[in-house]
Each structure stands twice: as C-alpha cells, then as structure tokens.
Subunit: 282 residues, 2 copies
C-alpha cells in the first residue's frame, strides 16, 4: 500500500514509539505531531520522532490517517470532535480501555472511519524522550468491535500493525476491558501499592537502595508509571479493576492467614497453586 | 590467599551459581558437592558445577570451607550438626533469613567458625540446571553479626565475596530480617497472590497468554519460585512478613476505596506517592 500522511496526536511514550516504527517500516510519507504540551511537541521534533508539529485542526486537515495516543479520558472528549472534522480519513486510537470510548461515538455518522485498537506494549516511563525504537514488535494488538469499522479503514490499520511486527487479535470491547484488567491494570495497582507499602514502612531508604534485588525491582518498577495516564484507565475500567482487586486482596489475605496460623501446608498449597502461572508465562 | 577445598551443601540454583563463581575466580582448589537429592547431585556433576559428589560426612572431613545453600529450615537443623563435626574449618550459609539460624548456634563452642551471610541474588528458577554464570556480580551481600565470627573466618568470607564481585554490608540479624521482608519477601508474596488472582478469575487462559504484556510478566514472574525454598523463609520471618503484608493490604484497600468513591484526586495522590520509588530504583 502507498505511504500515508499520518498525524499522531500525543507524541509521548506510546505515540512517539509508534512514530519511529511508522517511519522505519516506510508506512508514512510524512509524520505530523500534535501535542497540547508544547515542551513535548518541541522535544518530539528535536528527537525527529515527527517531521513537523502542527495545530490540531491543521494536522487533521493535512492527514490521511490520524492516530490518537493521549490519556483515555482525553480520548473520549477528542474522538467525537475529530470525527466531526474528518472526511474519509482513517482514525485509530492506542488506548488501554475501550468500552467507554466506543460507546462515546457509537452513533456518530463517521463511526466507520474509526478503528479501536490496543497495542499491548508500554513501559513505566513517559514523554517523547521515553520513546523506544523497535517497540510493539512481536507483541499482540487487539482490535475491538472491528465490524463497526469501514472495511478500508480496518484493512489499512491491520496492514499497519502487521508491518510493524504485531500479531492481531479481535475482541469485543467488553471482553477486552475485562482481560486488560487481569493482564495489565491489576499489575500496575499491585506495583503502586507495593511501592507505597515500602515507602511507608521502610524509613531507611538507604537500606532499600542497597539491598533491593532484581526481584524487588521487577515487582515494583511499574510503580514509576505516569498517573495522568493511569488514573483515567482505572476509572474507565473501574468495575473490572475493582473485581480483580477484591480477588487479589482476598488472595493476599490467604497468605496472611496461613502465616498467622503457622499453617505450612496451607502456605505450600497456595504457592504450588501460584506456580501454575508457568503454564502461561515461560 | 591460597585456594581452598570447598564443600557446597545444596547444589541447586544458589549453591550451583556460587560454585561457578568460586571456580572462575580461582577461589577453590576443589569443589565438593553434597545434595540429599540424588538427581540434583548427579546433575551438578554432569554440569561440572562441582568436581565430585561426596557424602555429607566425607565432604566436611575433606574441606577447608563448607557452604550451606539449602532451604532455611534445613539450615537450622544442619548447622549445629556441622559445627559439632568441624575442627577449624570455615562454615557459611547463603540463606534469606538470619535471626533463627544465628539463635540456633548462639552458644555453640564452634560459633566463631561460622559466618552468617545473605547474598542478594536469586531467580525464580531452582535446581542445578538453573545455576547462572556471573550471578552475584555487582550485588550486595549482607554479613550478619560479624562480631560473633572468628577474625580469620570472617576475613576469608569477605575475601571470597569481594572476589566474586559483591559489595559487602554488615548488619545485625534482626535488622536484616526486617529489611529482607521489605525488599524481597513481600515481592514474592504479592507475586504469588497475583498469580492466584489471575488463575482464579481469568478462566480464559489463552487470553492471558496472548495478551500478557511485559508489565504483567515482570510483576508475576516471581510466582514461579520454589515453595520448598519460600515456605520456610516466610515462616521464619513471619512477624516481619505479616507486618509488611498487613500494610500492603491496607495500601491496596486505599486504591479500592478511591475507585469505589470515584475519587480521582485521591487516586492521583496515591500514584504520585508511589512514583517516589524512583528515588530508590532507577
């Protein structure tokens, strides 16, 4: 397929990393950056993530494809405005929650031009300087409610994701949000809470710094993640996240009980059960 | 210093990885393996982690240094027996808890020959085949109650750890066990509980497998850890682990509350607080 003029709204970690891939895989004839944060816009240009920075309106006017990579609350207010302004361009988003966004434009006359996607990649860092080359490769991308998108728009988006090395899955938005709560959102909550636990109780920070092993770092690293991105995700996916979080607290309480009762066998069973995660992650 | 004949009791992940380093750094003139698990003993020999396998008694008789790398409950029963058998050899352990072990041999006439240590390294795998080359390098090792060890024994153990690239810290056993609960033990409990949460609630394992991102993997990987190693650690460090675990459940409950009340500001504050972990881990 021929190269497209692509506007990326939000040139931070997610949008910036996509920009690098779009350029490298020769998907874009031009990359236009849009960012409400002037510092980020400037930085994205400086790092050559995008070819130029334009205003929101100019960018939409001059692009064949518009990619939304902003926090999911901004997404919900921005997407209907974009659909109002476009003609037959393709619009897609890279957000971590899907139900509320899809609901927001369900009856929009331009609904078909929009493709709802969630590439399963990210890091705990943010901003254009956190953009990573080779991101997204060999990861999954979920396309939600694909049947509501126009065939040509859907095809181009699939083509794009395949070209940058992702494998495609299709799912209804509700199923997506449930699974995302399990395989991504709860990990972030446990990590944030673990950081707060250690910071609250362990006053000798020097000791943590010196002793912290790789195990600690791996369970706590997500706690560095950006609140502006995560607060709206948790709120939009509140019901699912609460369900999983309640179960997680119940599971932790079992460990607590086994220790309080000094019940070695029970503790052994709990850990053996947990070991079954080997079936899922290598 | 001249090379020593070193016996490693327990040639699994921890003992096996140390064996590789002892050999590579020319600290050992001979490496003798001891393991109650015959399969592990055979495998360790096959992998050339050790030069020969001997019985417990023979190994003690023929060694200058005896390294204990067995689960911490076995350690508590084995250490007094070893001290009964030795003459002036050096004995050290690599266990993750220290108070109970040190207490167990506090008044032993050979107390001075023993050095209590905890090298801060491990992985979620176990057994001799999990041994890693270059393990321990650039990590911290804690020596506990150093003043209770004989000077020559202490000096040799410090020499050994420096030679394999570790940086030394000294600490009382009680302080060690408290810090270990924060920077290692709680991470394992959260990871086990997270695995159980997901396995319990998410019946569509295929979905987890396909969607699981790097974030999920990093928070859940410790859940693959060996129960035979971890049950005794948690039990021996029960008081500290329970303290931290209760605080962790309280912190998770704050996230739950912020979601239930849809209190964006509170959730934002909780995450901003967690972000301060950046001060401690890069």
């Amino acid at each position: 397929m021929e190269r497209k003029k692509i506007a990326i709204v939000g040139v931070g970690l997610i949008g910036g990393s996509l920009a690098i891939q779009l350029h490298e895989k020769k998907l874009s004839s031009k990359l236009i950056g849009v960012d409400a944060n002037e510092g980020h816009a400037k930085k994205a240009l400086e790092l050559e993530l995008v070819d130029e920075i334009l205003s929101f309106d100019e960018a939409i006017q001059q692009s064949d494809v518009i990619v939304l990579a902003v926090p999911v609350d901004t997404m919900v207010s921005l997407l209907p405005i974009i659909l109002n302004k476009i003609d037959d361009q393709v619009v897609l988003d890279l957000g971590s929650t899907k139900s509320q966004l899809i609901e927001a434009i369900k009856n929009h006359p331009k609904r078909g031009r929009y493709v709802a996607t969630h590439p399963m990649w990210g890091t705990e860092y943010s901003g254009p300087q956190a953009a990573v080359r080779g991101a997204y490769e060999n990861k999954a991308v979920i396309i939600c409610n694909a049947e509501e998108s126009d065939t040509d728009a859907l095809e181009w988006v699939k083509h794009m994701y395949k070209k940058i090395g992702m494998h495609l899955l299709e799912m209804e938005a509700k199923a997506h949000d449930l699974h995302a709560a399990y395989v991504s959102h709860i990990s972030h909550i446990t990590s944030f809470a673990l950081a707060n636990t250690v910071l609250e109780k362990e006053k000798e920070e020097q000791a943590i710094f010196e002793l912290a092993s790789a195990g600690f770092e791996s369970t706590v690293r997500l706690a560095k993640s950006n609140p502006a991105m995560w607060v709206p995700i948790f709120m939009q996916n509140k019901e699912n996240v609460l369900d999983v979080l309640k179960e997680h607290i119940a599971q932790l309480s079992r460990f607590k009980e086994s220790l309080e009762k000094e019940d070695n066998e029970y503790l052994m069973r709990l850990i053996e059960e947990a070991n079954k995660i080997r079936r899922i992650i290598k």
